[in-house]
Amino acid sequence: MKLLYRAAFQWQSRAVLGRHLTVYRRNWHTAALPPIFEPIILLLAFGVGLGGFIPDFTWRGQSVSYLAYLAPGMLAYTAFMTAFFQALFAAYIRMHYQKTWEGQLITQARLEHVVWGEVLWAATLGTIYAFIVTLVLAGFSVAGWLQLNWIGALLVLPLLFLAALGFATLGLLFTALVPSIDHMNIPFFLVILPLGFASSTYFPLEGDSFWIQAWLTLNPLHHLAEGIRFLLLTGELNLHFAAACGLFLLMIVILIPIDERLLRRRVLGEG
C-alpha cells in the first residue's frame, strides 16, 4: 500500500503528467477559452443579472451581494467540475479509445504511475482553470463590481489543488466502473448535478433536518465552497477550510487504492 502512495512522487508519474501538460500547452489557446468565458458569462448572467433581482441577499446573517456570494462558489465548482470531468471523460478516452495507457504500460511506467499521472493532471488542470477564474474575478474587482479579500485568495489555490485531487480520484473511480462511454450519463446525473448544485455553490443550503445536516457535514464540496467563501469575504480561516482539507485527504487515501485495483482488473484483467 505504501508503494502505491509513493508512486505519486516517482518520476514515472511525473512523465505521465508531463505528457498531458505537453498536449495541453500545444492547445492552450483553445483549451483556455472555457475557463475564461464560462465564469464571465455566469457571473454576468447570475451574479449581475439575477443578483440584481435579489437586493436583500444574506449569508450567515451578513448582507452581501449575490455576486460576492457566487464568486467563491464558482471557484469551488470549477475545480470540482474540471478535475472530475478530466478524470472521467478524458481519461476514459485515453484508456479505451486512444490506447495511450497501453502505450505507457509497455515502458518503465506501471499502472500506479498512470493512475497518479491522470489524477495529478486532472488536479493540475482544475487548479489552472480555477486560477483563470480567479483572474476573471480580479477583473470584476477592478471594475468595482466585487469586493474580495485578496490576501485570503493566496490560501485558496493550494486548497483547490487538494480538492481537485480528491475529485479526480472520484472521477477515476467511475472511469474504472462505467461499462461504456454511453454510461457516462450515470455519474453525470448521480454525482455531478446533485453534488455540484446542492453544495452551497450557487445558493445557500440550509435546514435543520437530520438529512440536510448529514449531507452538509459529509459533503466536501460544501465545505470547500464555504471555506473559500469565508476566506474571500471575511479573510477568516474557519472549520470549513479544515473540514474540506480532511475530507479531500480522506477521499484520496481511500479512493486511490480502489481506483488502482478496479483499473488493474479493467486494463490488465488482473485482480
Binding site: 512523465a15 498536449v23 486512444q98 495511450t100 509497455i106 518503465q108 506501471r110 484483467g269
Partner: protein, 313 residues
C-alpha cells in the same frame, strides 16, 4: 545509428530467461509452466492457435502482466526484484497500434523516450537516425493515424527502439499488412537481429515464423508442446514427410483404415486433398501397400503444424 555491438561472450548468455511461467485469469490457467530463453542476435518465434497463450506469455515477459508463478530474468536482472531496471532493457511493439495519437511521428519518439530512465545518450541524433532508418523522416510532422499500415508498424518499431533496449518483443508485427509491407518489416527485423538484439515474436503467419525465427516455441492451451529449431519442431510434432492425396480417390477409406491400424492420426482434410504425416518407415510401408495410388510427398511446413495444433488434443 546502430545498436551497441554485443561481444561473443555476451551473446552466449540469454537476454531473456523466463522459467515455469504460470498465469491464471478468473481461475483459468492460461499459461501453464512455459519457459523461454532468447539470446542476443536470436529471434525466438512463439507459435500457437488463437487462445494458446502467446500474447499472455509475451505480456508476462515484458511486465505488462505479473506472473502467478515462475521467474523472469532480463539481461540478468530479476524482474520481481527490480522491475524498473528490467523494463529499461525491453522494447515492445504491441499487436494493436499504441502510439500516441496526440503527437506527431517525431513527437511520438520524443515522448516515448521520456518514459525511460536513464535517457538514451544523444537522444536527438538517435531519433533522427531511427526516423531515417525506418523511412519515417519524410513523415516527421505527420500524425500517426494519417500513415499507411506499413508505416504505422515502422513507427511502432521505432518507438520500441528509441531507448536502446537489448530485448525486443514483437506481438504479431505484420498482422493486417499487405505483402510488400510485410516483407519490409521482415527486412527490418532481420537487420535488428544482425545488430545483436534479442527478439521474441508471435505470429499467425507460418511463412513469417519460418523465415524469421531461429528457434520456435509452440504453445497449445497455455502449455509448451515443442521447442527448438523449426525443422526439429516440425519433425517432432508433425512428422518427417507429408503425404498429399486426392480426397475423392476411391481408395481413401482403405488409406484411413490403414492409418488407424498403424496407430497414426486421422488424415486431415484440406479442401480437396487429404494430408497424412509419416516417418521414413511409415512412408515405406505406405508405398508398399498403396503403390498404385497417385500421391505427392513433401516436407512438412508450419502450416501443417498449425493445422495440427488447431485439432483438439
Amino acid at each position: 545509428m546502430s545498436i551497441p555491438t554485443i561481444d561473443p561472450v555476451s551473446r552466449a548468455f540469454p537476454v531473456l530467461q523466463a522459467d515455469d511461467l504460470v498465469k491464471n485469469f478468473a481461475g483459468r490457467c492460461v499459461v501453464d509452466g512455459v519457459s523461454l530463453h532468447c539470446q542476443a542476435g536470436q529471434v525466438l518465434g512463439l507459435l500457437g492457435a488463437n487462445g494458446a497463450g502467446k500474447t499472455t506469455t509475451l505480456r508476462l515477459c515484458y511486465g505488462f502482466l505479473q506472473p502467478d508463478g515462475g521467474t523472469i530474468q532480463i539481461a540478468g536482472i530479476d524482474r520481481s526484484v527490480d522491475p524498473e531496471a528490467a523494463a529499461r532493457q525491453v522494447g515492445v511493439c504491441t499487436q494493436d497500434d499504441t502510439f500516441d495519437t496526440d503527437f506527431t511521428v517525431r513527437g511520438n519518439l520524443e515522448q516515448m523516450s521520456r518514459y525511460f530512465r536513464p535517457s538514451p545518450s544523444n537522444l536527438k541524433e538517435r531519433i533522427a537516425a531511427l526516423m531515417k532508418r525506418f523511412g519515417l523522416d519524410r513523415y516527421e510532422k505527420a500524425k500517426p493515424e494519417t500513415l499507411s499500415g506499413g508505416y504505422r508498424r515502422r513507427l511502432m518499431l521505432a518507438r520500441a527502439l528509441v531507448h536502446e533496449p537489448r530485448l525486443l518483443f514483437l506481438d504479431e508485427p505484420t498482422t493486417g499488412l499487405d505483402p510488400q509491407a510485410r516483407m519490409e518489416v521482415w527486412e527490418l527485423v532481420n537487420t535488428l537481429r544482425n545488430d545483436g538484439l534479442a527478439i521474441v515474436l508471435t505470429t499467425h503467419y507460418m511463412d513469417e515464423a519460418e523465415r524469421l525465427s531461429d528457434d520456435l516455441l509452440v504453445l497449445q492451451e497455455g502449455r509448451m508442446v515443442a521447442a527448438g529449431r523449426p525443422r526439429t519442431v516440425l519433425g517432432d510434432l508433425v512428422g518427417e514427410h507429408m503425404l498429399v492425396l486426392e480426397a475423392g480417390d476411391p481408395a481413401i477409406p482403405a488409406v484411413c483404415d490403414w492409418a488407424r491400424q498403424a496407430g497414426l492420426p486421422e488424415p486431415s482434410r484440406v479442401l480437396s486433398t487429404l494430408h497424412l504425416a509419416l516417418d521414413g518407415p511409415g512412408l515405406a510401408q505406405f508405398s508398399a501397400r498403396f503403390g498404385e495410388l497417385r500421391f505427392e510427398v513433401r516436407p512438412p511446413t508450419l502450416d501443417d503444424l498449425f493445422l495440427k495444433l488447431a485439432e483438439k488434443p
